[in-house]
Symmetry: D2
Subunit: 465 residues, 4 copies
Amino acid sequence: MEQQGDSLRHHCGVVGVHSANPDNIPEKLFYGLFALQHRGQESAGICYRKEIPEDGTGRFVTYKDLGMVSTVLSRYLEKPHPSTLGIGHVRYSTRGGNRLENAQPLAASCNKGSAAIAHNGNISNASALNARLSMDGSIFQSTSDTELILHMIARSRQPDFKSALIETLGELEGAFSMVMLHEDQLIAIRDPWGFRPLYIGFSDTITAVASETCALDMLKIRDFREVKPGEILYIDSSGVKSETFAPGTEPKRCVFELIYFARPDSLVFEESVHLTRKAMGAALAMDESAEADLVMPVPDSGNSAALGYAEQSGLPFEQGLTRNHYAGRSFILPTTSQRELAVRMKLHPVREVVRGKRIILVDDSLVRGTTSRILISLMREAGAKEVHLRLSAPEIKFPCYYGIDIPTRKELISNSLSPDGIAAHIGADSVKFLKIPRLMECLKDGEGYCYACFTGNYPVQPREV
Amino acid sequence: MEQQGDSLRHHCGVVGVHSANPDNIPEKLFYGLFALQHRGQESAGICYRKEIPEDGTGRFVTYKDLGMVSTVLSRYLEKPHPSTLGIGHVRYSTRGGNRLENAQPLAASCNKGSAAIAHNGNISNASALNARLSMDGSIFQSTSDTELILHMIARSRQPDFKSALIETLGELEGAFSMVMLHEDQLIAIRDPWGFRPLYIGFSDTITAVASETCALDMLKIRDFREVKPGEILYIDSSGVKSETFAPGTEPKRCVFELIYFARPDSLVFEESVHLTRKAMGAALAMDESAEADLVMPVPDSGNSAALGYAEQSGLPFEQGLTRNHYAGRSFILPTTSQRELAVRMKLHPVREVVRGKRIILVDDSLVRGTTSRILISLMREAGAKEVHLRLSAPEIKFPCYYGIDIPTRKELISNSLSPDGIAAHIGADSVKFLKIPRLMECLKDGEGYCYACFTGNYPVQPREV
Amino acid sequence: MEQQGDSLRHHCGVVGVHSANPDNIPEKLFYGLFALQHRGQESAGICYRKEIPEDGTGRFVTYKDLGMVSTVLSRYLEKPHPSTLGIGHVRYSTRGGNRLENAQPLAASCNKGSAAIAHNGNISNASALNARLSMDGSIFQSTSDTELILHMIARSRQPDFKSALIETLGELEGAFSMVMLHEDQLIAIRDPWGFRPLYIGFSDTITAVASETCALDMLKIRDFREVKPGEILYIDSSGVKSETFAPGTEPKRCVFELIYFARPDSLVFEESVHLTRKAMGAALAMDESAEADLVMPVPDSGNSAALGYAEQSGLPFEQGLTRNHYAGRSFILPTTSQRELAVRMKLHPVREVVRGKRIILVDDSLVRGTTSRILISLMREAGAKEVHLRLSAPEIKFPCYYGIDIPTRKELISNSLSPDGIAAHIGADSVKFLKIPRLMECLKDGEGYCYACFTGNYPVQPREV
Amino acid sequence: MEQQGDSLRHHCGVVGVHSANPDNIPEKLFYGLFALQHRGQESAGICYRKEIPEDGTGRFVTYKDLGMVSTVLSRYLEKPHPSTLGIGHVRYSTRGGNRLENAQPLAASCNKGSAAIAHNGNISNASALNARLSMDGSIFQSTSDTELILHMIARSRQPDFKSALIETLGELEGAFSMVMLHEDQLIAIRDPWGFRPLYIGFSDTITAVASETCALDMLKIRDFREVKPGEILYIDSSGVKSETFAPGTEPKRCVFELIYFARPDSLVFEESVHLTRKAMGAALAMDESAEADLVMPVPDSGNSAALGYAEQSGLPFEQGLTRNHYAGRSFILPTTSQRELAVRMKLHPVREVVRGKRIILVDDSLVRGTTSRILISLMREAGAKEVHLRLSAPEIKFPCYYGIDIPTRKELISNSLSPDGIAAHIGADSVKFLKIPRLMECLKDGEGYCYACFTGNYPVQPREV
Ligand SMILES: Nc1ncnc2c1ncn2[C@@H]1O[C@H](COP(=O)(O)OP(=O)(O)O)[C@@H](O)[C@H]1O
Ligand SMILES: Nc1ncnc2c1ncn2[C@@H]1O[C@H](COP(=O)(O)OP(=O)(O)O)[C@@H](O)[C@H]1O
Ligand SMILES: Nc1ncnc2c1ncn2[C@@H]1O[C@H](COP(=O)(O)OP(=O)(O)O)[C@@H](O)[C@H]1O
Ligand SMILES: Nc1ncnc2c1ncn2[C@@H]1O[C@H](COP(=O)(O)OP(=O)(O)O)[C@@H](O)[C@H]1O
Ligand code: SF4
Ligand code: SF4
Ligand code: SF4
Ligand code: SF4
Ligand SMILES: [Mg+2]
Ligand SMILES: [Mg+2]
Ligand SMILES: [Mg+2]
Ligand SMILES: [Mg+2]
């Protein structure tokens, strides 16, 4: 159903675990990935170092498949798989198509040992690097950035893995929050701009890395911190070592992680997602002009902002739309003419709340506008008197080169219609977006964020060949 | 995961559709059942009358399997299955075990024609009837009430199906909201006490019957009414005929449908579920003595009541617990020592909301208390200063004989502990239940409800052999 | 693929096991059924009595599904299921359609206890019995004979199960080789005509009943004998008791079991299948007039007869057709125009053997002639000079009412064409069938067999309502 | 079950198809691979060039999975997939383990275009080549020879794909029969020694390449010839071009293809498999000294040789062992103590044939001897008086480096026991192997074959690093 949806696509989530003593690493990866399922529902995979008790060594075992974490990886819950380190990945496919070849982690052996990578982001100079490597005789079995990175490490003239890795990182542009395995070491890396979030946490027995803190919570880790932009962390039995590989770059975190992608109960970029969203909702309320009876979220992405709006405005908060617990990806409605049915299956008004009311309806953002159009018609049908749509994101007008799948400019409704035009188009009484300056005020360090999909000012210039 | 859960079990949901003209009935049943998925997640099934164009007749086709609606029935979305009537069922198994034999609808042919039944409820004198039929030479392939009812109709000395059905209904005690197919007729029946909900609705082309109105909404039906307790409806191409088969019985609707089972966006018993729950929450607030900083629901069953509580109390409403979108039934955690993990996978605190706060935590009811105990420890871990648990149901102390699976009396925490004892046991600062008189005030016709699981006063005396 | 095949359909196979001491009965049933897989590939099932150690009782557990034995039942190989008795069934569906409702064994409880049946054959007066039971108020959830029999036992006025069973058997006409469970007893029954085979065997620890001896071999049973026509055997911890329930009936065994259905390494009807088939082949050779270079079977059903033909004729035996090991039921070729492809996927000539040769091609029987037509064209294509088709069965002209699925009279090629006409139609140089007197000479007791599908002389008059 | 078997492992089968006009290439690959299923049952895959009608180009689509052809690829039978070329592969895993990473075909893009390979054989200097490539910075995602070859082509300094391919082939040692796709060209290659078979065939509309002619037969191709050792064929819309890349090498075909691997109805190495096997059986008979009553094969691998033996010796040929039609890979018997059960499930004596007889039992070869031991005990149990085991292969004593998975020297029974010792060990009255000179006499060009697993004389020296 979500195929016909009308949200931006989460890209990926990563997790990595190192344990001082042999532990059931695949199980830990399972729980971590389960908490990150919202970041990618099309494939799931892990790679862990299987202990070979006979000779004290290990070898990497990879298992990945199309499907959800619970389907693909539940086999690992049945019995222990002694190991000391592993990484995991959930993915929503973008350019690469929905192919298993592009599923991650990717493991390979090369002249600098065996390595595996799971990666969240998008290398914006990938085409150029690809062309160079290809010219030099590399083969590409997928279109994923991970394969590119492994090639670069193998190709590097540097004498060892570590220096080859540093050299490689120096050539990458764009977004990359990565976890890697190299022999008996877990490595965590975040690009110098810090586009995608990454956290590291510590408990008595394990060290774990994950895209969002909700995954660390699943592992009962309370002591954590952000992996810093441009930081590289080496984690092994001797402890954790930190290095900086790109000093001097200004952070440009993806503001959309806070607006929409991350889970409300996570921290990303040292910000509470829920509280930041509440602040965005409050900011919307500050500029309000419409008179209304109540504030309602489009669940669940509009929940936090609607709460913030309600608190700021003093209007009553209501839950006048329910989100079906079972509306997942289990089947595909055959024809697009059934899009209305798809929305109806997911979201449904509570007639008694909506009837006769002037409603402030809060959601995160507007992409194509198709879902909103249907939703508003359902609300009218349920008797709503006025529907004022408020978005906690500014108008999306430009593509993203840092790992988010935004439709083409033509499909983005804000490129063809003004807010008033949109209101007319989707049947709302009014439509308003959060202004960028207001958005910046909701953040501790408003300057340290990327807003390119709203402004077209790209912090790292995309390079396509 | 839910196996280890700690809620009452929804029993069943039913839907029936009749169309004036041949239509894709299985598809309509699919959408109706999809909306009722929360009433039973273990098996799904439909029975429809397949048109035989050659001779203008039809025959019943049944398809049912263990699994969710989208898995079991999505095959019916691919191509049209011309038909004019059908029924469907979702089920959570109770006594009968999780066996396919007990899945519904059940179709059979007998001396009064071909018939199929889907049933929600529990016949409280089933054992006695069973014994009698068995003595007379009936065989039982399942333990379901539907098989019993079909036997009784076949056995009846009445000359035709209709009079045999009426005779049979007269002998049934307990809860039964049913949809039936008999030849080219759809029949809807509700027991004289009206324990379980049932609605009938009409659009231009179809007449549909369903447990809750949310299923009728999926079929774009806006014109509906309750099937009355003791009412029987015959729906065929000549229209709808209503009869009453047990005049004079006092309605005793299951109050738990409103407290917990039904979807908040449904009407049941001519009440809005969401608004009734808000009223229950408000009623809880009226008797409050604790001082607190904010009100939070245990999502999603506590949502509406928490909103009502907040409005009544004037305390801020917060969403300090998130409910994982992907926590379903896809796998079973191997050991019960992992129960904590199961709760953690489903519910997770927003640390920044909870930290340092005195919290009113609102949920629907308390069964064993195990989930609440873990949940409160998660909230303490996240820094909550005080947690006051409020339940929008009274204390559950007795079994239900009308179709709800309540644990044994020994397992019900309210049979061994007072609210204070429970608070100590689960680590809450206080625990309070809604008082029955308060609960009755939330209902249009408080007297017309069953409260037996709280009081032990059974409106229909259970009869076990 | 076999859907488009052109053989008679095996009907069913049954197995039953009783063990003096608790044993892994489902595993034993698995192995027995695996050996009987050729008797039915569409569904498999078992019912066994699960020991309840707590109170020394047991209850029947049934598991059945559409699919092959190894798919449906391999779950039972993983761990022990302590039990002392059980029955199993493989099925090829006939009239009842390929529906799970008709899968066996069928278990039910009634006034005479709990019972389960697995049945091979066809009750030829089923419609009449059905009508009577229906009139008396029985309901039918399937179209299977097993449900009918259970109803009759339950309905019987006899005071106990055993006498009710005997009474019921007295009313059944047609073919029934059955295994039953009743409480802690395994019962084996064969109809008075002995249409379908049934054997009982004994090892130190178990007593087993099966359609063919190959299933007893799998259980390492060497000491066995035929269950006699009209015999009923009660097997429990006190031993085996035999009774005769229909003295005086003349046996009429299905000659087609020997011609085609049974496995060559089995005994049925106290005859070796392989040796009897060899005798049939030899008998064909006795009446031969064609000159030829070699004898070849259509594998595997023609193997034994071809060997017998070669020995008798003195012509060299060759294997000039291979039968693909992997041609099973795993997929269905979409269009019937692909029937040629289906034959090609299963049978393939060895060009170097066939080229330039005059060939006696031996198969068991001719039904529609479609496969033979394609097969002969493949042989011509491979260079065969002459192809003389010899069938070890007489011409099939009439339907069977005793459990074999024979196409309608119109579809049977021998009803429209003479052997010469068939030869012209399928492209053979000549076609000859085994004469009935010759066939009778191959059997120890030629008079004790049914030949109705060749002659139209039905030993038990079919009765349809 | 076969896991516990005791045969040599077939390695792989390949097929390639080029069509002048767009055709349903995946369907053709399906049928070809279906006929080659006996060459590998663990994974199946295809890669075809999907036509992009918009711009007249195409792109390679790969689909492969663990499982049988009918399971993995039947999806391609449902609707047409217009294409002009594709390749396919079935695989039995050897060193690489049963991992999907090693499944074929393998597709990749590189500086010389897009290419895909499916390969049958084993590169005996792979380790050395691997080491060199790795040193130069190549990464390895699998342990398959196909990945190696693609790397070498990409790495080559030659200016174009074709010359790079030729250069690469010049460096490969060992066995490789390959089909490749490069842009719109299908390429077929056979190593200079011709270890593994490969045929090319032509019909009006398509050109196809396959390991054995039985796959060409499925495609209704009658006009075919061997791809010659050291030949490379370029097939595209302009026709077929042949080149020789390693003139002067002496062919060393794998004699085991004729003894055991290939299907009896195939040609390989311009020899009829069935007739060659018959000759081997006859050769065994020439040196016979034992007196016997009959000759019997171990089906199906002993069939042809047993026939040849019987013809030569004048002894009657009998089918005294049946091979179960359904004994496949569908499940794994849990413990090795059940090996006897596994043999019993696959092979079963016809008691009436065997009893009291002195039997010449013919099979292809003896590896560990475990199966034969059980089999002979089953025959004794069935009453065989004498069992003389005859093998149509010489004694296997050495490993194979050219693509066949032979157990370690220690496990090969002929390394520890003489024929008489083996007879004693497995319970046979005598055991005899075919002598190498006799074997050579059965072949048109006895010198042109490899016999290394019998003699230790390796035609290409294996090189491990
Ligand atoms: N689509 C929906 N949206 C909101 N609430 C729902 C929906 N479907 C069912 N519910 C409500 O959810 C509650 C059950 O969900 P929840 O509390 O999360 O699970 P549990 O059954 O474990 O208590 C019920 O009270 C039901 O009324
Ligand atoms: N467990 C959760 N509880 C609440 N919100 C969640 C949870 N997981 C993800 N989210 C949030 O849900 C939103 C996506 O859900 P929703 O709006 O229902 O779907 P859609 O992706 O169609 O917009 C995101 O904003 C994400 O932050
Ligand atoms: N369709 C077929 N018909 C007859 N023989 C075949 C067929 N396919 C493969 N074979 C042969 O079967 C042999 C393998 O089968 P078999 O001996 O039964 O199994 P195993 O691999 O256990 O020895 C091979 O020699 C092969 O040539
Ligand atoms: N394991 C076996 N070995 C040899 N023959 C068998 C075996 N199992 C069944 N048969 C025989 O195989 C025949 C059916 O196989 P076959 O002729 O290949 O298929 P079809 O059913 O299409 O005619 C029957 O005659 C049966 O007796
Ligand atoms: S362009 Fe938009 S979505 Fe992409 S990183 Fe920047 S803020 Fe995030
Ligand atoms: S006993 Fe409780 S659960 Fe049962 S019907 Fe009455 S109120 Fe509902
Ligand atoms: S009619 Fe033919 S198939 Fe039927 S029982 Fe008689 S001999 Fe057998
Ligand atoms: S060593 Fe043996 S199996 Fe290997 S290629 Fe030579 S003959 Fe064939
Ligand atoms: Mg949303
Ligand atoms: Mg709840
Ligand atoms: Mg046959
Ligand atoms: Mg063999």
